[in-house]
């Protein structure tokens, strides 16, 4: 109990004085996860639109497959990325192991199914009459897509925030492909994992508090959106 209290006090100290190590880890975590979420968004929004608006054989199967990967274990994605991007692997020529870049790539792979599946669901939630109305008013395919996106904007926003949450809170992938290198690939989750196992809990607690604060903000925004 005493240790916990000591830890909490030290943690607040680190936060209030904007301790450089804590800030560096926080900044990097946000940079990596925000980048991953944006990249995944750029890929999954148009792709989701294409899948939703077109009829093709196997569409149901594809959507089921996407949903299957919603909760793919982070270490499985980590293993997959490791096999491909390892120096001796097929994509090893890029020399990306243990870099922030590979962490971004890994997180994109991790959250893509959720983002894609929920974007498709968001589009599906818009009544077909909207699509018909837009078409009849002379919108071309792209304009229809944007109109439906507009109608579904809150559901899509929620999907993006959920994907971001999953990206920033995972540890298995970050550890396996990032290596938790101090000053280079260390993020919230891997740092907390390391420091806790070493018994240095002040830094862990400080990072944990920030991570919780971020989650809180994300959740508050999510709630406001869902209330509309």
């Amino acid at each position: 109990m005493n240790e916990l209290l000591q830890g909490l006090i030290k943690a607040f100290e680190l936060l209030v004085t904007l301790d450089p190590e804590v800030m560096e880890i926080a900044g990097r975590s946000l940079a990596i996860s925000v980048t991953a979420t944006l990249l995944a968004g750029v890929i999954c929004l148009p792709l989701g639109g294409l899948i939703h608006f077109n009829r093709f054989t196997g569409k149901r199967t594809l959507i089921n497959l996407i949903q299957t990967f919603y909760s793919i274990p982070t270490v499985v994605v980590g293993l997959f990325v490791f096999l491909f991007f390892s120096r001796i692997g097929p994509l090893g020529v890029f020399n990306l192991m243990f870099t922030p870049t590979i962490m971004v790539i890994g997180q994109v792979i991790l959250i893509a199914p959720i983002l894609l599946g929920l974007v498709i669901a968001a589009f599906s939630g818009v009544e077909k009459a909207i699509t018909d109305t837009a078409r009849s008013l002379g919108a071309n395919d792209l304009q229809i897509g944007i109109a439906v996106l507009q109608e579904a904007r809150f559901a899509v926003m929620a999907a993006v925030l959920l994907a971001f949450g999953r990206a920033i809170s995972e540890v298995g992938l970050a550890l396996m492909v990032g290596g938790n290198i101090k000053g280079f690939t260390r993020v919230f989750t891997t740092a907390i994992s390391l420091e806790t196992s070493k018994g240095d809990i002040e830094l862990s607690i400080a990072l944990g508090i920030i991570l919780i604060l971020i989650s809180l903000v994300v959740n508050m925004v999510l709630n406001r959106l869902q209330q509309r």
Binding site: A129, D132, R135, L137, G138
Partner: protein, 360 residues
């Protein structure tokens, strides 16, 4: 050259025939009403005309050009039309943006858009600020916004799918007023689907009756109303009296028809003796008297009142004259004559008020 022409248009949906051999012509500037019972295929036909779907077979010509040729052609032609759906659909944006959507998609300049939207807003006479979210509007208000949204793009053809079906009488009247104003101001060609025959009569120059996926009859509303070409059309346009009969004699364009109970009715027709026919008599053509009257009317039958139903300011009176007859009189007359159940009355109608249909 008609603006819209369909040739042998057919459409299937999930294996079911929805439309069969539709051959329709709509002239430029015409107001054409497509009437028919619910489920007849009116919406499907409108959707095909708007090129929202590709017909299973048949062709659609727009100003002489094959509109179903390719996706690109369909898109171009579709941009010259506008469609207002049955259920008012508004985008989750304010009123101004809703109306501006079509113009924005056409890449119009902002100032131009503002001018056009304001003009059209005046026309629909909505007493609600244009920055209000359209989703907060009532059904009638939303429908007016939908119509505004459609006409602001100055389409050559305006397609309306049962525009007043889901509305209360007051809102419906407002919409009809708006449509009338549009007709006068823009002279747009209008194709309007409705199950309300009276509305079709009021607003349209020509009527097409769509029953079970086929256009049974098309023409002047008066003509369709009084001279239905088939039993189904007759039933739909409100001919409550359709009597089975056989022509017993034909003389100089006048026939005597035997109807139920050895009674003979006279009508104007060229059909030969022996022909099986339907006699169509509109209920408002029947006069009721308490005693046998001497009139120029050729047909007078005695009968007993079986039912009296109040319809607004009118009374609908069902009679048994050994065949069933329905008459429509004013409530006042019904009261003055004491027309109650069981009363013995004479039902009289002119030979010219009978429309003879051949049975097939």
């Amino acid at each position: 050259m008609p603006l819209i022409k369909t040739v042998d248009l057919c459409h299937k949906y999930g294996g079911q025939d929805i439309l069969r051999n539709i051959n329709l012509k709509v002239e430029q500037g015409e107001v054409f009403a497509l009437i028919g019972p619910t489920g007849a295929g009116k919406t499907t036909l409108l959707r095909l005309i708007d090129l929202l779907e590709v017909p299973s077979s048949g062709k659609i010509y727009f100003a002489g050009r094959d509109a179903t040729a390719s996706k690109r052609v369909r898109f171009q032609v579709r941009r010259r039309m506008a469609f207002v759906l049955q259920k008012p659909v508004v985008f989750n944006a304010n009123i101004y943006d809703n109306i501006a959507y079509g113009l924005r998609w056409r890449g119009m300049a902002k100032n131009n858009i503002r001018q056009k939207v304001n003009t059209v807003l005046e026309m629909i006479d909505l007493s609600i600020p244009q920055d209000r979210n359209a989703r907060t509007l009532s059904g009638g208000e939303a429908q007016r916004v939908a119509i505004a949204r459609a006409i602001v793009t100055e389409p050559q053809v305006l397609l309306l799918d049962e525009p007043t079906a889901n509305l209360d009488p007051l809102s419906a009247a407002k919409i009809e007023g708006l449509i009338t104003r549009i007709i006068h101001q823009y002279r747009t060609t209008i194709v309007m689907a409705t199950h309300d025959m009276a509305q079709g009569q009021r607003l349209a120059k020509r009527i097409g009756v769509l029953i079970n996926g086929e256009i049974i009859q098309a023409g002047d509303p008066r003509e369709v109303f009084t001279s239905p070409q088939s039993r189904e059309v007759a039933e739909f346009v409100g001919v409550d009296n359709i009597l089975d009969g056989v022509i017993v004699s034909q003389e100089g364009g006048m026939v005597a028809v035997e109807i139920g109970g050895n009674k003979i009715a006279e009508a104007i027709s060229d059909y030969p003796a022996g022909e099986e026919v339907y006699l169509c008599i509109r209920p408002e053509e029947i006069t009721l008297t308490l005693a046998k009257a001497t009139t120029s009317a050729r047909n007078s039958f005695v009968g007993q009142i079986t039912r009296v139903v109040s319809v607004g300011p009118l009374s609908r009176i069902e009679l048994d004259c050994s065949f069933r007859l329905v008459a429509l009189v004013t409530k006042r007359s019904a009261e003055e004559l004491g027309l109650d159940r069981g009363k013995r009355v004479y039902a009289t109608f002119k030979a010219t008020g009978v429309h003879v249909l051949r049975k097939d």
